[in-house]
Amino acid sequence: MEKLNKNDFVTIWLDGQMCGIPVLEVHDVLSRQTITKVPKSPVAVAGVLNLRGQIVTAIDLRKRLKLKDRDEGMEEMNIVVEYQKEPYSLIIDSVGDVLSLSEEAFERNPVTLDPHWQSVSNGIFRLENELLVILDIEKLLTLDESKVAA
């Protein structure tokens, strides 16, 4: 788990679940953006958006994690990360604080965790009142469904 030695995480909310993204990977936090849909793209791809002249691919984490869709008019935020030198925007419900966590509170994913979550999470931090699911950017942005079997 050497990836986690910088244990600072931006907390985000997704359908009532608190998740963490390593703070070093976060480039930007944006409010709701105008998004251009991309026909025929994988389901999790919400579309593309213009971030200060840069084209950013937006991934709806609710869809990525197979959660239910946001209700109409619900707040949404964007977290911009970079993966393989390409910017991606993760659409989430809201952003919380940045937390510095100690390694001791870290746990592996429970084996019973939903496979969708298993496949994108590196583990879990026990917080006082809540559990923080650490999301892995690389895994989030590897869409196995991108190729639809013929």
């Binding site: 991309v38 793209s41 084209i55």
Partner: protein, 896 residues
């Protein structure tokens, strides 16, 4: 000093490349004075600069080379292949030294006396062969008309004067010095006319211009390009605002800004664009050397060398191109004897052609050589284990030819120093694909091979047409738009349909149309029908030889866009060639007509696949395929259906004719008493008038079902979606888009006559479907397509699943089959695993399972038995397969 050295190195490398090229040219046309002058000048410049930088080795070699060239130029010596080879060798030596210089910042040590001696000897008229440097002592071949190498008729004074008169280079002294050296050298070398001094001077001046230019890393250019792109976008944005607000004081400065931006943009683009010819400059030399080495005669034609390409892309395709040309020369073009034997010209032709098409750059490499031998490729594929014989048998020649793109595949029977090492075309392909390109190949054995490389313009500002489809806007590169047609009922053009396939009549041509909405998977309403009010915009575009129209909802303006590649996550979408930001700041996808065309083809084949699958589902349902269905109402508004084939007659009876006997209603019908049946108690026979009735007969028994109304007869499939527990009903099916109850005639017969055992069995059988349902699981679409008709023709209903997982999904849906045939080698879940799963759980536990595989070794046979297959049949053994199917089904039925 270091900077100067680097400058020198890059410049010299470039010069040498040019010399390489020109020498080959010279060899072909020894009397071409301008080429010779050019070569002389370049070598001379190299020498001059070397002297200045203190590089004695380089200087010495260049000097000797120059001496020989000087003789050529003065006509004292003939341009012979031997001499050219010698000079080329000298150039190679110079290159070697340069490489060493580049690495260590100083000249590598080494002895050049041999080559210098040869050159000098040649300059003096003593010709030595390059290949035999050891035999210098042997009697040299004397070249006639040798003139002593002395300063010519021009006196030094004259020269001096000429030199002073010529406009001197206006920058630093070093160059001046170089020029001095060069002039003196020129004088030493041979007789020089006044103008030529000026020329030499001019050439040195060219060198000084080269010194003025700076080399910039591509990163810097990329950055600049990005900034300019931004500028262009901002300019567009401003222009849009200005257009909206109308006249304002900003209009004029904005105009100027716009103009400057455009110029800047063009300028920056130019820095990145280079003619593709730059990547080709080495090829003539390579071909020349190959001709010598291989003993072939090859004519290299290069067309479209000025087609411009992004520098980066150019760098990346340089090596693949070189490799392919080598291949063509080595494998493609036959030896002279073979060519003559084949009735071809002695000289083989390799043709390189580059051009723009549809926003892409196409590079064509064709040769008129031997072509690819499909048989050889097959043998090779087989021995390399790339395919089995069965697979090969199923492949088209084109597919087999594509094997050359596999790693480790070389058809050259023997490895030559040129090619045939089996690391080649796969690398070429991957390199081209890396930059988003594609490579295709066409080859006819005995006629030649043509490779087609398509490279997209990944970085460029292009003019694009903005269109709307669905609710989204898209850009389509102007370059791929041939014309724009507005089609509506009242205009000259309108969309016509051939069996619901839209076409457009355009100037005596019939163009196929593609609806962008459909291609992009947008839901579309009933806009397909040729509504006279409807307006369609059709973009006529061309991909290869295929001209077609793309129907869009709206067409907006054209706009300058900066093509940016899409994120890797979206790179699989071939309908888009990139994306861009419009003037208003929104991101928009750029459509790729090539992708659309191929997508359309796919969609068409997929559609037919889907249709086939649907039909399969239908055929495996309780009833036969599509059939005429009688729709009626009886009690309530519920639609009810019965297959028309079961109905003998539709009648209307006068209710007054209805009689009652033993509490049952009946009517005299054709001289017999026919019982009348109500299918439920929610309705009754009218008290007067006429009542519609469906007459069913079986053997000599007839029954009338009284209905409220006979609604319609539809051609559709009865696919029972929900089976029913209600008596007298088979279930609910969607017929003509409406949920419809399908009634069970057999039940009413039974109820009416109480003796279905005796008389009714014909009907239940018919209803149950006589055909056996078979599921085939195989990942090879080809094989499925082969097997399906075979089994269908043999009287089975066939359902196909292309993976075991897909098959298991059918099981989850509760579909039952009489027999399952499964392939063994499949991705995800293989046949053995599938069989285990089938035997373990679910409704197929008892279903006969037949394994089907190309590999039927005893071990696999046993394994198959072990995991639960009832039989194991070799692929393509039709008779055995049919026999096995019949046997298994029969066994199963008798067992059950």
């Amino acid at each position: 000093m270091d900077d100067l050295l680097n400058e020198f190195l890059t410049e010299t490398f470039e010069s040498i490349e040019v010399v390489d090229l020109e020498l080959v040219e010279l060899e072909k046309d020894p009397n071409n004075k301008s080429v010779l002058d050019n070569i002389f000048r370049l070598v001379h410049t190299i020498k001059g600069t070397c002297g200045f930088l203190g590089l004695p080795r380089l200087e010495a070699v260049a000097h000797s080379g120059e001496n020989v060239l000087g003789k050529f130029r003065d006509g004292e010596m003939k341009v012979t292949p031997e001499a050219v080879t010698l000079i080329l060798t000298a150039l190679d030596r110079i290159k070697e030294i340069l490489v060493g210089l580049e690495q260590n910042q100083q000249e590598p040590s080494g002895d050049d006396s041999e080559i210098i001696n040869q050159l000098n000897a040649m300059a003096e008229g003593n010709l030595y062969l390059v290949e035999t440097p050891k035999v210098i002592e042997e009697a040299p071949i004397m070249v006639s008309d040798v003139r002593p190498s002395v300063p010519g008729e021009v006196t030094l004074d004259e020269l001096e004067a000429a030199f002073l008169a010529a406009p001197g280079p206006d920058d630093e002294d070093p160059v001046e010095e170089a020029v001095n050296v060069s002039v003196q050298e020129t004088v030493k070398a041979a007789e020089v006319k006044k103008e030529e001094v000026v020329k030499a001077n001019g050439s040195s001046k060219e060198g000084s211009i080269a010194n003025q230019s700076i080399r910039v890393t591509v990163d810097v250019l990329d950055n600049l390009m990005n900034m300019v792109s931004e500028l262009v976008l901002t300019r567009n944005q401003l222009m849009q605002i200005s257009r909206r607000t109308g006249e304002s004081e900003f209009a004029i400065p904005l105009q100027r800004l716009s103009q400057c931006t455009t110029e800047l943009q063009e300028g920056v683009m130019k820095t990145r664009m280079q003619p593709i010819g730059n990547a080709w400059s080495k090829l003539p030399r390579i071909i020349r050397d190959l001709q010598m080495e291989l003993g072939k005669k090859i004519d290299l034609q290069m067309l479209g060398a000025d087609t411009e390409l992004d520098r980066q892309v150019l760098e990346l395709i340089k090596d693949p191109l070189t490799h392919m040309i080598r291949n063509s020369a080595d494998h493609g073009i036959e030896k002279i004897e073979d060519r003559i034997a084949a009735g071809k010209k002695e000289t083989g032709t390799i043709r390189l052609n580059a051009f723009h098409e549809g926003g892409q750059i196409i590079i064509e490499i064709s040769d008129d050589g031997a072509g690819l031998s499909v048989e050889k490729l097959k043998a090779k594929a087989l021995s390399n284990g790339l395919a089995t014989e069965e697979e090969l048998a199923e492949m088209s020649d084109q597919q087999i030819q594509r094997f050359i793109f596999h790693a480790g595949f070389s058809t050259a029977a023997k490895v030559t120093s040129v090619s045939g090492r089996g690391v080649g075309m796969d690398v070429v392909r991957s390199n081209i694909e890396k930059i988003g390109g594609a490579i295709e190949l066409k080859s006819t054995e005995g006629k030649g091979t043509t490779f087609l490389i398509k490279i997209p313009l990944t970085l460029a500002i292009v003019s694009a047409l903005i269109v709307e489809s669905g609710t989204e806007r898209f850009a389509i590169p102007q370059i791929s738009v041939l014309e724009l047609v507005r089609a509506s009922g009242d205009s000259n053009h309108k969309i016509e349909y051939i069996n619901s396939t839209p076409v457009l009549r355009l100037r005596d041509r019939l163009l196929p149309l593609l609806h962008l909405n459909k291609i992009l998977g947008f839901e579309e309403g009933d806009n397909m029908d040729a509504d006279s009010l409807r307006e369609d915009f059709i973009i006529i575009t061309q991909v290869g030889d295929f001209t077609f129209g793309i129907v869009v909802d709206r067409v907006f303006d054209t706009e300058e866009i900066v093509v940016k590649p899409v994120a890797p996550i979206l790179r699989d979408l071939n309908v888009f060639s990139g994306n861009t930001i419009l003037g208003d700041g929104t991101v928009i996808m750029i459509l790729d007509p090539n992708g659309i065309a191929s997508e359309a083809n796919e969609a068409m084949s997929e559609l037919s696949d889907q249709r086939a699958e649907e039909e399969d589902d239908v055929s495996r349902a309780t009833f036969e395929d599509k059939e005429a269905i009688l729709l009626f109402r009886a009690g309530g508004d519920t639609k009810r259906a019965v297959p028309l084939s079961l109905v003998s007659r539709l009648e209307e009876i006068d209710v007054s004719k209805i009689e009652i006997s033993e509490g049952n209603k009946m009517v005299q019908y054709r001289g017999k008493l026919m019982p009348l049946v109500l299918i439920n108690d929610k309705y009754d026979i009218k008290s007067e008038g006429r009542q519609p009735m469906l007459v069913f007969t079986n053997d000599d028994k007839a029954m009338g079902i009284i209905v409220d109304e006979i609604s319609d007869i539809k051609e559709d499939s009865i696919k029972v979606e929900l089976s029913s527990k209600a008596i007298g009903q088979l279930g609910t099916a969607i017929i003509d888009g409406v949920a419809t109850e399908v009634i069970d005639i057999a039940y009413y017969f039974e109820k009416t006559f109480n003796d279905w055992q005796m008389g009714m069995d014909a009907i239940p059988v018919e209803l149950k479907s006589k055909r056996k349902n078979i599921l085939i699981v195989d990942d090879s679409t080809f094989f499925l397509n082969l097997l399906k008709p075979l089994l269908t023709a043999s009287g089975y209903n066939v359902t196909i699943a292309s993976t075991a997982v897909e098959a298991l999904k059918l099981r989850e849906k509760g579909l039952d089959f009489d027999l399952i045939i499964s392939d063994i080698d499949m991705p995800e879940m293989n046949g053995f695993e599938f069989a285990e799963e089938v035997r373990e759980n679910g409704i197929w536990r008892e279903t006969p399972l037949v394994a089907l595989s190309a590999n039927s070794s005893q071990a696999r046979f046993d394994k198959g038995r072990e995991v639960g297959f009832d039989n194991y049949v070799e692929k393509l053994d039709r008779d055995t397969l049919l026999k096995a199917i019949e046997e298994q089904i029969n066994n199963h039925e008798t067992a059950a």
